[in-house]
Amino acid sequence: MISNLRFIVDVGVFLVSLVSLVSLVSLVSHLCFSSLLCYIFLIFTLLLFSSQVVPVLEKTTHLTFRHQILLEASYNLMLTSQRQEVHCAIADLFDSSTVETELAVHASHHMRAGHTDRACSLLCAAAVAAIKNNEIKEAVNMLTEALANDENKVNQAYYLGLMAWESVRKLQNDVGGSMAMNGLLLLAEATGDSSLIPRIVTQTELDESHLEWNELQDMPPEDETDVSILEKATSLCMISVAKCIYSPSYGHKVPERLEREFGFKDIAMPGR
């Protein structure tokens, strides 16, 4: 009860402070300031004084609102265009900063500032880093957001490939396989390369690819190479589809689709 009362008082104090501040800043900005960063700085200074914004313990350079409601209240007091400007300023600050910033946070500011391309590439980089750390849930959320916002088909295929790879690794063949097949079709559409569309391969094609694979060293060399997103997306989608064909008992959808849409005739789906 006491803590609830204290919270209501806190919110009240905060709102009064914020309204006074906004009036003050409007007045001052009309007089001499036009810089958005000064505006943000003043707001945060006041919020810090009223203890509504607190430093993030692990990262001294980051601040966070003490409560989600405070964040939402302050956020909703601004117009969409104002919010976009603020996010844009923060994103630019992060871009030029020498201090390492969390990729997902950086991406969210770019996304809200309307810089979709930059935001998606940052989200993808954050997702790849998360996958390396085995934080799959976070990675999938980031890739889903990137997929919803990116209009580039090759990039979309890459996001689908990454999610498909993680799904089939956990034996979720139906989910992962569908994503991978869609990824391959997107790649074929974007590049005009019909060889990416599932098809019956000839023995010669198979032998050639086997020979090339056989000639590779047992471990990739240590030098750095620059492989395009297109190639990364292709490899992820291809191996995920292959896994679904290798183990049909963990999901029938890919084999069924191959049979229905692409004319494969000998699909082994025992028990069907």
């Binding site: 750390n133 034996l171 019956i200 590779l216 060293q217 047992d218 490899s235 292959a242 064909i245 191959l258």
Partner: protein, 273 residues
């Protein structure tokens, strides 16, 4: 009681159910694998390179001479990968678990040779809650090897290791289910060895309840074909002990379902219960 029977029996088994096609879809999957792993090689993506090789063993390759050559080549490649410092312990563990599954039919001595390495790698990732599903798979394979070699002390010690496994509180549901399946399957196997019929039945009830416990996840693979087949074999054995031929026949009929057989034997492992 042995873990891996001769591949001759397996060949008969597969021919019996016409599970080995080697046709269009198999060729397409191989073609995709070769192209994808070549791209991973060019990308210098170690994780992708290693894991893609762990997948290609499926589809009963050990049954043809060309397939055996291919598996020998892949196994040699794994040995080189295992010695490379760029390969993380979790990937090396994945490789060892995978090798146990498909290399044994062509190299029966392998479990005995590789068991110390498997134990060492499992120890290396122990405690990392994000890798608990890899750890569970490795412990399960260790238990199978121990049982097949008659090392019951090691087999029993796997019980404690399984008890110590804890999933991350924010782990994905599919990970939690995988670990639960391994745990129940191992517990049932232990009960079966101890002639504890109630233990096997209790664990089967738990496994069957998983789909209802996690309704948001596709129930098609819960429990996995391997788990289902194992339980069917144990339950039919127990029913025979009680002279309940009708139940035994019912379980065996389910166990001999080609869908289950494909899921388990396609990987190259044959577990004799």
């Amino acid at each position: 009681m042995c873990l891996f029977t001769s591949d001759v029996i397996l060949t008969e088994f597969f021919l019996c159910f016409s599970l080995f096609s080697g046709g269009e879809s198999d060729k397409y999957a191989d073609y995709l694998f070769f192209r994808a792993s070549k791209l991973a090689y060019e990308d210098r993506n170690i994780s992708f390179w290693v894991i893609s090789h762990c997948w290609v063993h499926l589809k009963c390759r050990f049954m043809t001479p060309e397939g055996r050559d291919f598996l020998q080549r892949t196994a040699k490649r794994f040995m080189v990968m295992d010695e490379d410092v760029r390969v993380e312990p979790r990937l090396r563990l994945r490789m060892q678990t995978s090798l146990m599954m498909w290399y044994t039919p062509i190299h029966p001595e392998y479990p005995k040779q590789a068991l110390p390495k498997l134990l060492e790698l499992t120890e290396l990732i122990a405690g990392n809650q994000k890798l608990v599903s890899d750890q569970a798979a490795a412990i399960f394979v260790t238990a199978l090897c121990a049982k097949s070699m008659g090392n019951m002390q090691l087999f029993e010690s796997c019980t404690d290791t399984f008890h110590g496994l804890r999933c991350d509180t924010e782990a994905r549901v599919c990970d939690v289910i995988l670990v639960a399946c391994y745990r129940y399957q191992f517990a049932a196997q232990y009960s079966f060895c101890a002639n504890d019929s109630n233990g096997v039945h209790a664990n089967w009830v738990e496994v069957q309840g998983l789909a209802a416990k996690y309704p948001k996840v596709s129930t098609q693979n819960i429990p996995s074909p391997f788990v289902r087949l194992s339980f069917m074999c144990w339950l039919s054995n127990l029913a025979l002990d009680d002279n309940d031929y009708a139940s035994a026949g019912g379980h065996l009929k389910l166990a001999m379902n080609p869908m289950l057989v494909m899921g388990v034997f396609g990987s190259g492992i044959f577990v004799s219960f």
